[in-house]
Amino acid sequence: MNKKLPFVKRIMLKMQGFMMKAMISCDEASRLASKSLDTKLTPGEKMRMKMHLMACRFCRSFEKQIHAIRSILRSKSKEMTEDTEEKSLSTEARERLENSIKENK
């Protein structure tokens, strides 16, 4: 048993060092969450972010929020553009456009 301790301790220290390196702050985690919406994270970044999110519900909320903003923005803006009840050209603008097309045809 005694002989094993230094070994176990060595492993523990190694793991601790690894964990410390892997632990990032909310500041960094939220930046990574935002970055992940734009580009693929490196495996290291991905792991650090995941570990942080597991431990931190605020950053989990942050990540969900920025995803919700993107998804609602994208779906609503498409929906509104399709919606013929929505804003349309004024009569004056319509005339102006039609004239400029006629003149340049």
Binding site: S25, D38, K64, Q65, I69, R70, K76, E82, S100, I101
Partner: protein, 204 residues
């Protein structure tokens, strides 16, 4: 040769363009520019560019898609021009802006400050009325962003331009672009939490 021309879909008569696509293109532009006369201008530019390019319409996509493609370039051009007019100081100011969401020192350095911790919004995206309400607040919050942040955010999130292209178009370093998008998202989420969540909770 003759077969080829026969197979091609012909573009409709330009005098019908306003009737067929005007409102749609206008709504598309309004959504991104949030300014009526600007939106009318880019739609006009789009039709004029389409007149010149109509021979190139190959009928591979629908006419509508073809017009939207041109409009998209016009909108990007507009943002590119407006970003050129800005002094580099403006961008630098945004990038250098102090971040006051996180603790700057102590054992909990880098953690969210107490009043700034993101909450669980528990938003149900399948609930149309909830989504509509969220959208109203989102529009207001976007309007409150500093202009540069809003423009970059719109191009990335609504226009769905990838960041490589965006940093080329706006002549921004990729790292600076990343900071700008991060700032915009953080400011929006905080504006929404202050306003939408409050209004939402009041109603419950």
């Amino acid at each position: 040769m003759a077969d080829k021309t026969l197979n091609q879909k012909q573009i409709s008569d330009p005098e019908k363009w306003v009737e067929l696509h005007g409102d749609y293109l206008f709504r598309y532009a309004m959504m991104r520019l949030n300014n009526k006369s600007l939106a009318e201008d880019v739609v006009q530019e789009t039709f004029l560019a389409a007149l010149k390019a109509r021979k190139n319409f190959a009928g591979k996509s629908s006419e509508r898609t073809w017009f939207v493609g041109i409009l998209k370039r016009k909108i990007i051009d507009h943002f590119r021009k407006s970003s050129r007019e800005d002094s580099h100081d403006d961008i630098q100011k945004i990038i250098d802006m102090k971040d006051d969401d996180f603790l700057l020192s102590g054992a909990r350095q880098g953690q969210w400050k107490t009043g700034r911790r993101p909450k669980d919004w528990m938003i149900d995206e399948n609930d149309q009325s909830e989504k509509n309400e969220f959208w109203e607040f989102l529009k207001r919050c976007i309007a409150e962003l500093p202009r540069r942040l809003a423009e970059v955010f719109i191009l990335r999130e609504m226009e769905e331009i990838e960041t490589d292209e965006l940093s080329n178009v706006l002549e921004l370093k990729p790292t600076n672009l990343r900071v700008i998008l991060y700032r915009a998202r953080k400011q929006l989420r905080s504006c929404l939490e202050d306003n939408w969540i409050r209004a939402h909770e009041d109603r419950k």
